[in-house]
Amino acid sequence: MRRLIPLLIPILLLFLIPLLPVELFYIDFLLLLYMYAINAMGWNILAGYTGYVSFGHAAFFGVGAYTTAILMDKFGVSPFITSILGGLAASIFASLIGYPTLRLKGAYFAITTLSFGFVMEILFLNLESITGGAHGISLPLPPWDIRTFKIIFYYAFLISLLLVTYTTYKLERSRLGLALKCIRDNELAAESIGIPTTTMKMIAFMLSALFLGISGGLYSYYATYIDPPTAFSPNISMYAIVMTILGGGGTVLGPIIGAIILFTISQFTRYTFTVPGIDLMIFSGVAILVILFMPEGIVGRLREREVEIP
């Protein structure tokens, strides 16, 4: 219990922030930061721990977002149930797509997921009867005033973030986590010592998609409007990838730290320069430098230092 106290205090503080008279801008800033952190952590479960680098995770975000939008718009289901259903839908979807793709190694997996992200956007643009095509879906407006609305979403994203952090923390110390790391380091060896690699990879893939689906599900109601280019935006995958790489893949706190740094930068540049493309220019630049000079990421680097000191 005593070990938990230094952890609980910051979490408590995060819960108290919206109750303080802070400007709405900061609540908005934080909840979007949580969203990107959830995406990065979800991506990290597959890429960081299992070593299967996916470039199409926006697809799961989009599936979650559309599940929420369709369920709310057509059936009037409550948004917080639908976001969980969105996560489950993304997870089921991941199992379908994982079956043919998870057998692929290295670059082949990356290539397939890269085109898969684009294909989903086309699919949802064309299935007009279900998704509304390019017009998108407008969700019913929330009954609350704007501040209550943002605070509710602040908590929803915060709780989801804590959930994914806890899951990753538990994963790292579980048999499953060990198996995944083993697959990452040497899949052939993992298989030969009796790890059911296919099942393990599938679990990691579905778990990873689950959190992106939840985050997408929450986002679509938060934005109250969803269309294929935003739901399946390659930027969602891109942000998750760069944040995890910078913070350190295969660590619990890495993606969060990456998200804090990069999201702050992206918001800063968005308000400072009005030119499009500058935030992604910085993101990709950071990613290139990190891959070349610090591939283990910030947390990985700090951890190495720790180990070195006897």
Binding site: T101, Y108, T112, L114, S115, M281, S284, I291
Partner: protein
């Protein structure tokens, strides 16, 4: 009715030739050094932009502009491999090159905006009619240049010492280096050569299609589908796969809807990897 089919077929074949040129560079790099160049299409777009700006701003002849662009891209490719890509593992190289493509794309948006551009050459804006099938001159020229360049590449690979060294490296790195081939040098030149091929194809595509920085993202999936479907390291396979996919895209666009066309490439990619990972002509099974 039949004329529409023929027209669609002709369009598909003509565009397929240009795909083949772009994909052959990707296939060469992938086959020789096991690196999937995620930035391949971005180099094509860059090359189209270089030629476009020289042509529009300074009235430089597109042929001269292309030569300049090719030399520049070769230097960029060689330097990129020598100083950047060779520092990381093959697996990490994909992520790295993907980030480089993102960087290039957004730098191009930043400097040249998102507007649609097209290299319009007056002398080429005519078309021939054969049995009701229209063949635009610009596409014919692009097809001819593309096939010519692929043929030249095939000749280099087959009959020159460099080509022999490249093929040896592709088959077995250790044996090749034991035979006195400077594998590192082969890698560097191959990378530059692959990017040059992308550059030539980029100019061709810039002549027949409008382009903008983000267009690279829609090509790269198709290119990887072609390379995998054709079989790694097989030029014949790449050529055949390009023509098949070009025709398939064209037929789907004609009879169904052009918005579905990118699905074809994805389905071909998935099905090939599922059923026959070595592709049509690939020898290496992974």
């Amino acid at each position: 009715m039949f004329t529409i089919f023929l027209q669609s077929l002709a369009t598909g074949i003509l565009i397929g030739g240009v795909y083949a040129l772009m994909a052959s560079g990707l296939s060469l790099i992938f086959g020789v050094m096991d690196i999937a160049n995620a930035a391949h299409a971005s180099f094509a777009v860059l090359s189209a932009y270089i030629v476009y700006w020289f042509y529009v701003k300074y009235g430089v002849n597109p042929i001269l502009g292309s030569i300049f662009s090719i030399v520049l891209l070769f230097i960029i490719g060689v330097a990129l491999y020598r100083f950047v890509v060779s520092r990381v593992s093959e697996l990490m190289a994909f992520t790295l090159l993907f980030m480089i493509s993102m960087f290039m794309e957004n730098t191009m948006v930043f400097t040249w905006t998102n507007l649609y551009r097209r290299i319009v050459i007056k002398a080429l804006s005519r078309s021939f009619e054969i049995c009701g099938v229209y063949l635009p001159l610009d596409r014919l020229v692009a097809f001819a240049i593309a096939i010519g360049a692929v043929g030249l590449l095939a000749y280099i690979l087959k009959y020159t010492y460099f080509g022999k060294a490249v093929r040896a490296t592709m088959q077995n790195i250790e044996a090749a280096s034991l035979m006195g081939i400077d594998v590192k040098r082969i890698y560097i030149i191959t990378f530059g050569l692959g990017i040059v091929l992308a550059g030539i194809a980029g100019v061709m595509l810039g002549i027949i299609y409008p382009f903008y920085p983000a267009v690279a993202a829609s090509w790269i999936g198709l290119l990887f589908a072609i390379v995998v479907f054709g079989g790694l390291g097989s030029l014949t396979g790449t050529l055949l796969a390009s023509l098949i996919l070009g025709v398939a895209n064209s037929l789907v666009s004609t009879y169904y809807s052009s918005s579905w066309a990118p699905m074809i490439a994805f389905l071909v990619l998935i099905i090939t990897l599922w059923i026959r990972p070595s592709g049509l002509f690939g020898r290496i099974l992974r």
